[in-house]
Structures are given as structure tokens and as C-alpha cells.
Assembly symmetry: C2
Homo-oligomer: 338 residues x 2
DNA sequence: ATGAAAGCGCTAACAA
DNA sequence: TTGTTAGCGCTTTCAT
């Protein structure tokens, strides 16, 4: 008995509760709750006494208890493919700014582009009863989709618009991006065009860009001459390696890369090999990273609204907006490499 | 009444509870709890019946309720300065892999290098009663330190070792990094050395590197000739601009940058201006980003164990390790730019 | 404007 | 091995 009591005391060492604040302030618990959430009515005097007690005791409200007692949580769950691909930190950055302002809390986990892992992590997220779950794109397992629909919580699918949304979608069309990239290269007069990309089975958005890129070239009668797909995630090193391999097999006048990381690798390869850009070889990327503007010849690419995607997604959740698809578009940067 | 009931039903539409599972399986609630957490004892038959009911009803455990009822939470809170600086996504990446394996959940918020914001966000985090709070470095407000100490939850300070830890510290010495960078440049014979950095008041770890860098040069009798500090966060563009300004004012044979982003900007400036590296000007960075190895001349820099910092920090929390400081060291990369 | 009391969905003794 | 019973710390009616 006394042992148990000691244990209790130890565990709860610094844990001041709302009940203790109420007692110290000489008011009821519900009054403290009202004052702290600034909701309902109470007198100015009461408010002062409560705040004084809170201060004096160093009370920190327990949001776990609060969430359980009330209807909805203020957690927002992000289930993202990667943290290495700067795209996702950018989305988180935009979202977290908005969420913090509105007293929401961001929670995340990383799937490594694995749909099975996505399902497991989404399930784990749902256990926290979040206000919303945010995922990349539309390609999920049947199980993930079913679970999300059954959960009753809001779902936001990010960075894609080519597919059917479960609830809210915020992003832009990857198909349109691929198409416009191809059209741009054609307009510039390039005809022997190649492609260097990373694992497209996993990064389905990159896959969509590539397939609509190909369709556009096919329609123009100048299909992709050769392509090189590297295993693993996108990286500068892989872009460099991919271009090296591609040029060993084919004579090209332009290369489309799966994103800017890859394209920078290609750019550096040309720099190191003395291949002049764009006269000997043109390079086109995707994402519009800052670093692409800082290299001696600004990278020709498509700039995507990554931070805005996070911001808008968060705003819609905070506002409890109805289901919808928001097209944020993208911007083609002519640059100097194509 | 009927309205209220409808509302209730709507809100709880898909919310199956443990009690319902227990009823469906024909067992007690605690039995379901034991089976689900695989803790305590129960027969194989019981296990099957429970799992069947879970499956049939599509039950998703409520971790909010679970956390409130049990002693400790499995939330780990990250209060980080930035998501733009790749350092922090890298740390999160390392940590989240370990946390996911151990059924912990990562929560984060972003301070923008503002100690006041850090205090507010740390307070908000504490309201979730996390198992641990992870912060960057040792420089916090008095209020933050006091609050953290009083909270009774574990605290991990990351990416620095030069200072007094509140509880656990995982990282490396920024002072040693600055010192070794200076020693390296001296060894190579450089004597007219400059510095280009970003806002050091906010990024105190960069400030520590710079000050020990200066001390080392002072001791050698060849103090820093000139330095250029740019407002705002580090970026490739700022590195480029900073070097341009610095070279307009001083004749130098080497420049130390606050990190690789800045150094890459400097590198590109030289490339564009036809300044040959390292014969006319040497460049030295900090972080050891992948992209630094992919440019035509590999960047001379110090590689920091960012992912490992996250991993080790998470492991210590999962294992409930005692207070300690873990030095993960760093590696000087000679590269080709210095 | 305020307090009493009934949960929120789970875990953890404690009995059986 | 299993069920019963208290809570965990809040929010939220409902009286007062």
C-alpha cells in the first residue's frame, strides 16, 4: 500500500493536474477548464485567480486527456515517402507553419516509397485519432484506402492531381508537367531526346511525368531515343552516373531528368567532361530547387509549389473545408541549360 | 435528444471500441487488452477469438486513451530550428527509422532558430506528455531549461557537445570542427584566409565553429583577413553573394564557409568568374553533403554524422538510457577544393 | 457565472 | 488464465 503510494508519487513527480489548480484557485474544475480554453463564461476575477494558480503551480495542461475527453484531436498525421527528397521537408515546412499558428500538432512517419509500409504506418497513425492524415499522391493499397475511408478522419492527398481523391487533394498535375517539358524541348528544336530517371515503380509521380513526356514526343513523331533508369532514390550521383551510361549508348541532343537532383548530376557530368551546354547537350529537370538557379548556367526546369502545397493542405484542414481538389499549378523555368 | 443522439452516432460513426471487441469475442476487456499488447497471459484459443473479432469489426486501438491510462507515452517530440537546412531532415530520418521499429511516434515543430519560439513550442510539446523532447544544441532560454527540467521527461540535445547538457547529448564538437578546418588550411599553406557565413546569432553551432576557427588562426599568427556575414539562413545563393562581396574587399587565398550550401555557392561563383580552384582560391565547407562529392572538384569539407545522430538519440530514448554525452565525431574530407 | 458528475477508451491492480 | 473495478486528466452537459 505505502509502496504503491510511493510509486505513484514518484511517477507523477512534477505532474500538476487541473484538479490541483482548481483547488488552489478555490474554484471548480470546469471553471479552470473554461478559463484555460477561453470558452464559455467566467468573471474577470475568476480568470485572474485561475491564471495566478496556473502560474504558481507551473501547470501544463495534458492534451492527451483533453483530446480523449473532447470530440476531435488537433493532431495532423503526415505519412510521407521520404525525408531525403527535399520535396517532403518543403511540404512539411509549409504545413507546420500553418498548423503551429492554429495550435495543431504535426506527427509524421516515413514509408520509403513502400505501399505496404504506408499501410502499416497509416494504421499506426489512425490509432492517434488525428484530425487528418496527409499522404503523397493517389497510389495506395486497397487496404490503405479502405482503412482511411472507414476512419472518418479527413484525408489529404498531396502533390498530385492525376487520379481520384479519397477526400481532399492539393497539388498539380504531374502529367501536365511531363507534357509541357516535352513540348518545351520540341519548341527549342531538340529531336534526339533521352531520359534519366530513378525508380519509377516507387515514385509514381515521376512515372506519370515520364509517361506523358513520352506520349508527347511520340505524338510529335520523335519518340525518346534512349532512357536510363537507376535503382534506388534520386540523387545527384545517380544523375551523373545515369547520364554517363546513357551517352555511352546513344547520341542525343537533350536529356530529360526525373528531377533536379538528377539533372544537377547530369550538369556536373557535362562540366567535368567538357560537354558544352546546351549546344552539345541540353538538360531539363523538375522541381525548381534553389540550387538550380545558383549554378553558372541556371537549370531549365519546372518549379513546383511544394511549400504552398503544405500550407494550403493545412489551411483546408484547419478550416474543415469540404472535399475538393486544389490545383496549385507549376511554372516552367526556361533557364540556360535547354 | 434524438438530435443529440444522431450527432453522437455521426461523430462516432466508425469508432469501434475495445469494449465492443470484448463483447463480440465473448471475453473481458482486459483480456482483449492483453492479447493486443501481447502482454500478460492468455490462451491460444482466446487469442484467436479476440483477433477474429478485431478483424471482423475493423478495430483500431485508441492510443490516446491507452497513453492516458498507462504510465508513459510513446511520443517523441522534436523541436527543430528549420526544415530547409538539410541537417534537420537528416536527423529526423535517422530517428524516425528507429522510432518506427519500436512503435514510438515522432512529433515535431519548427522554431526558425528563434529561442522564444523554441520555448513556446517546447511548452506546447510538453502538453502531449512525450517520452522525450529532442532539441538542437544547448542554447535555450532560461524558461525552456526550467520547464524541461521540471517536466520529468527525457531531454536530448542534438548536434553539439560544447556546453552543459540537461540530460542526454548526442553529436560532436563544433569547436573541434572549426579548429580542425583551420588547421587543415594552415597545413595546406594558405595564409590569407577569409570567412563567409550566415546569421551566427541564431545558428549558435555555426558561431562556435567560426570562433574556434578564428582562435586557431590567431594562434598561428595569421588571423582571418576578412569575413562576410549574410543575414538570413544559409543558402547557395547567399554563399555566392557572400564570396562576391568578400573578394571585392580583400585578396585571399582561401575561404571558410559556414556550411556546404554556402560553400557550393562560392564554388559556383568561382566557376562563373573563371577563378581557378584551388590554385587561385581554396574553398572549405562543413557538413559533407552528397552533392559536394558530385561537383567536378569534390568539395573539401567536414562530414558530420547527421543521420547517426538521430538514430543514436532515438536508441537511447527507446532503451531509457541514463544521462550521458555521446560523441559521434566527424570526418575531414580533403576533397579537391582546398 | 459556476460546480457536480458523468463519461472519453483504455490500462493495471486485484480477485477469482 | 480470466474478469471486475478503479482510475488516467480532462471536457461537457446539466443544474444551480
Amino acid at each position: 500500500m505505502s509502496g504503491s503510494k510511493l510509486t505513484m508519487e514518484f511517477k507523477h513527480q512534477a505532474t500538476v493536474t487541473l484538479a490541483e489548480v482548481a483547488e488552489a484557485a478555490g474554484v471548480g474544475e470546469s471553471t479552470v477548464s473554461r478559463v484555460l480554453r477561453n470558452h464559455g463564461s467566467f468573471s474577470g476575477k475568476t480568470r485572474e485567480r485561475v491564471m495566478a494558480a496556473v502560474e504558481r503551480l507551473g501547470y501544463v495542461p495534458n492534451r492527451i486527456a483533453g483530446t480523449l475527453a473532447s470530440t476531435g484531436s488537433r493532431l495532423v498525421a503526415f505519412v510521407i515517402p521520404s525525408l531525403s527528397n527535399i520535396v517532403f521537408p518543403d511540404v512539411l515546412r509549409g504545413a507546420s507553419a500553418v498548423l503551429e499558428e492554429n495550435r495543431y500538432q504535426a506527427v509524421f512517419s516515413v514509408t520509403d516509397y513502400d505501399p505496404g509500409k504506408e499501410e502499416a504506418l497509416a494504421a499506426a497513425m489512425l490509432a492517434w485519432r488525428p484530425a487528418a492524415v496527409m499522404l503523397a499522391g493517389f497510389e495506395h493499397t486497397e487496404g490503405t484506402a479502405k482503412m482511411l475511408r472507414a476512419s472518418g478522419c479527413r484525408v489529404v492527398e498531396l502533390l498530385d492531381l492525376d487520379g481520384d481523391a479519397l477526400d481532399i487533394a492539393v497539388g498539380f498535375s504531374n502529367r501536365a508537367a511531363g507534357r509541357e517539358s516535352a513540348a518545351f524541348l520540341l519548341r527549342r528544336g531538340y529531336r534526339r531526346i533521352g531520359y534519366v530517371g530513378h525508380d519509377l515503380n516507387r515514385d509514381t509521380r515521376a512515372g506519370k511525368r515520364f509517361s506523358s513526356f513520352c506520349e508527347t514526343l511520340d505524338a510529335a513523331g520523335t519518340p525518346v531515343v534512349a532512357h536510363e533508369i537507376l535503382a534506388g532514390p534520386s540523387s545527384v550521383d545517380n544523375g551523373r552516373l545515369g547520364l554517363e551510361r546513357l551517352l555511352a549508348r546513344a547520341t542525343l541532343d537533350a536529356v530529360y531528368f526525373s528531377n533536379d537532383d538528377m539533372a544537377l548530376g547530369g550538369y556536373f557530368h557535362c562540366l567535368a567532361q567538357g560537354i558544352s551546354i546546351p549546344s552539345q547537350l541540353a538538360i531539363f529537370g523538375y522541381n525548381g530547387l534553389d540550387i538550380g538557379r545558383a549554378i553558372p548556367q541556371p537549370l531549365s526546369t519546372i518549379r513546383t509549389p511544394r511549400v504552398a502545397t503544405g500550407e494550403i493542405a493545412a489551411q483546408l484542414i484547419v478550416a474543415n473545408a469540404p472535399p475538393q481538389a486544389v490545383d496549385l499549378g507549376f511554372e516552367l523555368i526556361e533557364g540556360a541549360t535547354a
